[in-house]
């Protein structure tokens, strides 16, 4: 079950516990497995834990690549 969802951090306290928001639904999340997370960051969450920070630069690059591919095939 690799079910991991990208969600936005909306709350984080000193014990690395907090919440993320996905399309308006908030979920309790434990951030202990990732470093220096701030409110507003995007993370991948799985089974109530954030397992990685989503790199927005890389995400943009992937999207740009996809758009290129779509254009070049027209």
């Amino acid at each position: 079950m690799c079910l991991g969802i990208p969600a936005k951090v909306v709350e984080i306290n000193d014990s690395n516990l907090g919440k993320v928001d996905y399309l308006g639904t908030k979920v309790k999340t434990n951030f202990s497995l990732v470093d220096t997370i701030q409110v507003g960051d995007w993370v991948i969450i799985h089974a109530g834990f954030a397992i990685a920070r989503l790199d927005e630069e890389e995400a943009k690059e992937t999207l740009d690549m996809l758009r290129e591919i779509a254009k070049s095939s027209e």
């Binding site: 079950m1 690799c2 079910l3 991991g4 990208p6 309790k28 434990n30 202990s32 497995l33 990732v34 470093d35 991948i44 799985h46 089974a47 109530g48 834990f49 397992i51 990685a52 989503l54 790199d55 927005e56 890389e58 995400a59 690059e61 992937t62 999207l63 690549m65 996809l66 758009r67 591919i69 779509a70 070049s72 095939s73």
Partner: protein, 364 residues
């Protein structure tokens, strides 16, 4: 986000794949290791479209419900049906697996006992904290994506001296069965699609032996349809250039070194063991168990469970071969005759990520 599922982009990627596979011996056989990949491929109708483009996708052993032997389920069943005041916390998927003793879904708990579906191992620990009169057992099944979370939950439980909490664990590592499948040499595999979220944890190094020792290329892909197709493009590229390696498609989430914090936790709390995989047999150093200092939180130790890990599949059931990519579901004699989603005979039909269930649901 929606763009990863955009029809135009998907069509363009399929077109590119079709172009690139020209000149390669058909079909190009790529094994998607992870059950969630299998699900996405079928959900978006990609399997058929990929076949037209010259790619045959094989499902691999990355479905934790599928490869966990019945004995674990039966142990969980025994705990909750024979012991009073026990809460068995489990992920939803596990409750539907049919065993010789029935499934957790239809089990009747003992007096004051309960089966509770949880979303996170922490939820299980919280139940233990708030209900100190109950014994709480978390049935923890998973691959490297889930393992660090379970490890952290145990570590925290130990610090909090949560004596009424334990984990019945069935923890599996992804790289060893891939080696076993390649060693057996029964399936022709031209490339691998590696699981995105397992790789978030372990990085790319654990797969490098597949490129180096077996010359087979692979790509770590995310779970949106365009991630999968981009990953397949990367594999074909490597085949054409005769440069097998481990490409990271899912760069927005996966770093080459993985998640060092998670890996350190696993190292601290768990140790490797030989494990018996349903359908694949015993694979050395392919499982994990709690280290001795955490044995107070190991349900097997705490309750004296004797799990040999052997499996007893229904006669005729070919789940094992399906998991190795040797046969496709319709080639199993039980598929869709005796074995259906309504009355499954084997785990591949039970798990939401099981190849047989997915095949059944998404057939055209």
């Amino acid at each position: 986000m929606k763009e990863y599922r955009d029809k135009k982009i998907i069509r363009a990627l399929l077109k590119r794949i079709e172009e690139e596979t020209q000149g390669l011996p058909a079909p190009v056989r790529i094994m998607e290791v992870c059950g969630t990949h299998t699900m996405t491929i079928h959900k978006y109708g990609l399997k058929i479209m990929l076949e037209t483009a010259g790619i045959e996708m094989l499902s691999g052993p990355g479905c934790p419900v599928c490869i966990t032997p019945d004995e674990f389920h039966e142990a969980a069943l025994d705990l909750v049906t024979k012991r009073e005041n026990l809460v068995l916390a489990t992920f939803g998927d596990m409750t539907r697996v049919p065993t010789g003793k029935g499934s957790l879904q239809t089990a009747i708990p003992a007096h004051d006992s309960l089966i509770k579906i949880v979303y996170s191992p922490e939820e299980a620990a919280e139940i233990a904290k708030s209900q100190s009169e109950k014994e709480v057992v978390f049935f923890g099944v998973g691959f490297e994506t889930t393992i660090p979370s379970i490890a952290l939950t145990v570590k925290n439980a130990a610090s909090a001296k949560l004596a009424n909490f334990s984990v019945l664990s069935a923890l599996w590592l992804i790289p060893p069965p891939l080696r076993a499948i390649l060693e057996a040499g029964e399936t022709r595999i031209n490339g691998f699609l590696y699981p995105g979220h397992v790789s978030v944890i372990i990085g790319k190094k654990p797969y490098e032996f597949i490129a180096k020792e077996y010359g087979i290329p692979g790509a770590i892909a995310g779970f949106e349809p365009s991630d999968i197709l981009l990953g397949i493009c990367a594999v074909i590229d490597q085949i054409k250039q005769k440069k097998p390696g481990v490409h990271i498609e899912y760069t927005r989430a996966v770093s080459p070194a993985g998640n060092p914090k998670a890996l350190a936790l696993m190292e601290e709390v768990l140790e490797e063991k030989d494990a018996c995989w349903r359908g694949l047999g015993t694979i050395p150093r392919s499982g994990l168990r709690l280290k001795k200092k955490y044995s107070g939180f190991d349900a097997e130790v705490k309750y004296g469970l004797k799990i040999s890990g052997k499996t007893s599949d229904q006669p005729g059931c070919r789940c094992g071969e399906v998991l190795k990519g040797l046969v496709s579901p319709p080639q199993c004699p039980l598929y869709s005759r005796k074995c259906t989603p309504e009355s499954p005979h084997g785990p591949c039909m039970v798990s939401l990520e099981g190849a047989c269930l997915i095949y059944y649901k998404y057939q055209e």
